[in-house]
């Protein structure tokens, strides 16, 4: 069936057929240099705060289910179905229980729905800086997230002037703390600006982009309603139905930067929440066993490296921030 979607896919596909050549262009060199500097700045900052970087597990019997309609990569592992990590969330909690403050530079794969190829912000294969802090609240995690972003932005701004100039990017200096809007306030803010949405669902991409343009600086959306997130985001006991979680949003229409939460680590609660998300608990046996034995409470978040690069460099598409990018439905090298 020749639809607009399939024509657009063909166009993108042609563009990406020789993606291995793009790395030779001065533009790509500038982008990757900025990415490297930003990663280095974030690593240094986290080490100075007492975090340990771990090598991320890439495959396992189960992975993060909270990936909004994307399909996990399943393969035959000596007679059993295994998954390629769609995020390292489950292993992050395991690592945190032993080491306290940890982070991974974690490669993730998500077979996103085809329409995500045109959003400019989705990749099938990407890397997340994924961190977890034992005994922390989501406010502690937000405080790390804002300082981490400032560190990355300000370091790039100070040390990559020629690259930024080449990319014609004027990067503002950032200072914490960032503004915090609750989910309810966000809905109201959108309503005032002419966007109506049903309570309880995630903020759609186009609305998020609009917010990102309107607010004018990085900001957090906090306290999502239950039902919008994975089973591991903790519910606020004093405010039933509200999760202790957050998204960090870039300014200028670049959308989501990071997503995080305080974790639900109590076995019975997780089991009930798994049912809400339509999950079969049998699948998560190792994780549930770990929770039943007991792990410390924690909070954490993940920040997508390619999206960060997109913001730093002012790119139109996230796939410009990656060597040989993979987009939904496109067979490219």
């Amino acid at each position: 069936m020749e639809t607009e979607v399939s024509l657009e896919l063909q166009r993108l596909s042609q563009q990406l057929q020789q993606s291995w050549k793009i790395v030779r262009t001065p533009r790509m060199k500038a982008i990757l240099k900025i990415q490297d500097i930003a990663c280095d700045a974030m690593r240094s900052y986290l080490r100075s705060e007492g975090f340990i970087e771990l090598l991320p597990p890439i495959i396992g019997p189960v992975t993060d289910p909270g990936i909004r309609g994307a399909k996990q990569v399943t393969f035959d592992y000596y007679g059993r179905e295994y998954k390629v990590m769609s995020s390292a969330i489950l292993y992050k909690q395991a690592a945190m229980s032993g080491l306290g403050k940890i982070f991974f530079m974690s490669p993730n794969v998500r077979l996103e729905p085809i329409d995500s190829a045109f959003t400019g912000r989705h990749l099938v294969e990407f890397v997340q800086l994924d961190l977890e802090i034992a005994e922390a609240t989501y406010f502690d995690a937000m405080s790390v997230a804002e300082r981490l972003l400032c560190e990355a932005v300000n370091t790039v701004r100070d040390t990559c002037q020629s690259e930024l100039e080449y990319l014609n990017r004027n990067l503002p200096r950032l200072t914490p703390p960032f503004k915090k809007l609750t989910y309810d306030e966000t809905l109201e803010y959108l309503r005032v600006n002419g966007v109506k949405m049903r309570y309880g669902i995630e903020i759609p991409w186009d609305a998020e982009q609009l917010l990102s343009k309107l607010v004018g600086e990085p900001f957090f959306i906090i306290d999502y309603p239950r039902g919008a997130r994975g089973f591991y985001d903790r519910e606020d006991e004093k405010r039933p139905g509200i999760l202790r979680d957050f998204d960090l949003i870039y300014p200028e229409g670049y959308g989501e930067c990071a997503s995080g939460a305080e974790r639900e680590h109590r076995y019975e609660k997780v089991l009930a929440r798994m049912k809400e998300t339509g999950e079969d608990p049998r699948k998560y046996s190792w994780y549930l066993e770990m929770l039943r034995e007991g792990i410390p409470p924690s909070a954490g978040f993940g920040i997508g490296i390619e999206r960060l690069t997109r913001y730093l460099c002012g790119l139109e598409y996230v796939w410009e921030a990656r060597l040989c990018p993979k987009l939904a439905g496109i067979h490219s090298p």
Binding site: G69, P113, P204, R226, E276, T277
Partner: protein, 457 residues
């Protein structure tokens, strides 16, 4: 004289034999000897309906749940009551500039976010061999008639997602794509169930990111259906009897009460989990589905539960696209006898329990029902009660077995014409004009509960 004496003696002798027979028959009938003998002889096999001909025939025929026909009321308790004065016919006449007839009735409607040719749905038949085998014929026939079709649970897990596991059994994607390829004028749609076991293989995510299905998702023709329950076995999960070799293949994914490998029986029941719900779980699931699959319709199938009104309130407040209530009479192909006999509300009782919530404009949510419904009369009665349509399961499968996709089309056409006749008899020409004033009830209590006139009143 001698001859008449002989006849008399013979008569008395026969009477004695008959008395002994009827006494014995009385004793036989007074206690379920047959059932107990069956159980003793056949063990677990006796729990499920069996047929002397062939087990698979049973699935098409359905169990004989009407052994005692007066046990509970059915839609036969309702009558459609045409008036002599028909102002809407006059109105239609002024539009047509001639006397309207039954073929002027417009049955097009909207169910669960799909535009449909008639307010009927082909019930979500799952992986049961006898239904799956004829599923491509059903898909083709339903698509041509503009009637949405459900694909039941376990099809992808049992028969493969895009490749056939067994050459004689269509796989999941064949069923879906056959439907889409035969659609007319964008009427209809496909809903897809995911059981707990299908969730293991992430069926919905797989469909949502499948390039072949994408164009249809884009057009809003795909729905995802949560099965909270099913007619004849509310509270129990899916049950299918599998050959031992199929059972061995699927042993890791399903529950078997005996090990397929060591079992001595030729076929073994595969049990599927019913799923666990409380209002919060259901609400959260619906929100998650809206988040994860914003371009798909959300359907929920319910069994005849005693708390239907509460469940319906949760579903309507979450704005699901369709709620489908399956009465006790539905899904009798492969249910334990004991559940068919003892579990759940008959359809008409289920309708009584939610009567106040029907036909009152539930936003964009549709409510449909099923359970031994098979003709235009059933359809029209349901529409008059404020429902948006009905689902047919077994009749469509039987029609497919009898004459392929043409059989399915023929069958659906008969329902269409019957419905048009009945609606036109009421002096109405559109589904939206039907209301409870068009029905009467033979039972005073049911009439009161459903807000209908009592026919003898």
């Amino acid at each position: 004289m001698q001859i008449s004496n002989f006849i008399l003696k013979l008569f008395l002798a026969l009477h004695r034999v008959y008395s002994v027979y009827s006494d014995l028959a009385e004793i036989w009938r007074s206690y379920p000897f047959r059932e107990i003998i069956e159980r003793a002889r056949n063990g677990v096999d006796a729990i499920y309906p069996r047929d002397v001909l062939k087990p698979s025939i049973m699935l098409l025929k359905g169990a004989n749940i009407y052994k005692t026909p007066t046990r509970y009321a059915t839609l036969d308790e309702l009558l459609i009551l045409p008036p002599a004065f028909t102002p809407l016919r006059l109105k239609r006449m002024s539009e047509l500039l001639r006397e309207p007839i039954f073929s002027d009735v417009d049955l097009r409607h909207r169910i669960g976010g799909f535009d449909v040719g008639m307010p009927v749905m082909v019930a979500s038949m799952g992986s049961v061999q006898v239904a799956n085998k004829v599923s491509l014929e059903v898909a083709r026939g339903a698509a041509r008639m503009g009637v949405p079709m459900g694909v039941g649970e376990n099809v992808a897990t049992t028969w493969g997602y895009s490749k056939r596991i067994r050459s004689s059994q269509p796989c999941f994607k064949e069923r879906v794509l056959t439907y889409f390829e035969h659609m007319n004028d964008g009427l209809g749609g496909v809903t897809i169930q995911q059981s707990v076991e299908d969730a293991y293989g992430e069926l919905w995510n797989r469909v949502y990111s499948d390039p072949d299905i994408e164009p249809y998702i884009q057009k809003g023709l795909v729905g995802f259906e949560i099965k909270v329950g099913q007619g004849s076995k509310p509270g129990l999960g899916g049950e299918v009897r599998l050959s031992r070799e199929e059972a061995e293949r699927l042993r890791d994914k399903y529950h078997f009460t005996e090990d397929p490998e060591s079992s001595l029986r030729g076929s073994i029941e595969r049990h599927s989990a019913p799923g666990t719900y409380v209002p919060e779980i259901l609400r959260s699931m619906l929100r998650l589905m809206r988040n994860n699959y914003p371009r798909c319709r959300i359907w929920v199938k319910l069994g005849p539960f005693r708390d239907l009104p509460e469940v319906l309130d949760v579903l309507l407040s979450e704005g699901v696209d369709a709620v489908w209530i399956d009465g006790k009479e539905g899904g009798t192909g492969m249910s334990p006898y004991v559940s068919m006999r003892h579990l759940g509300l008959p359809l008409i009782a289920a309708l009584c329990s939610v009567s106040g919530r029907l036909g009152v404009g539930n936003g964009s949510s549709s409510v449909i029902v099923s359970g031994r419904l098979y003709d235009g009369g059933h359809l029209v009665k349901c529409l008059c009660l404020g429902l948006d349509g009905v689902a047919f399961g077994r009749p469509v499968a039987v029609a497919g077995w009898v004459a392929g996709h043409r059989g399915v089309e023929n069958y659906l056409k008969t329902v269409e014409i019957e419905a048009k006749m009945l609606i036109s008899a009421l002096g109405k020409y559109s589904v939206r004009d039907l209301s409870r004033e068009d029905l009467g009830c033979l039972d005073r209590d049911i009439a009161e509960r459903l807000g209908l006139r009592y026919v003898y009143g």
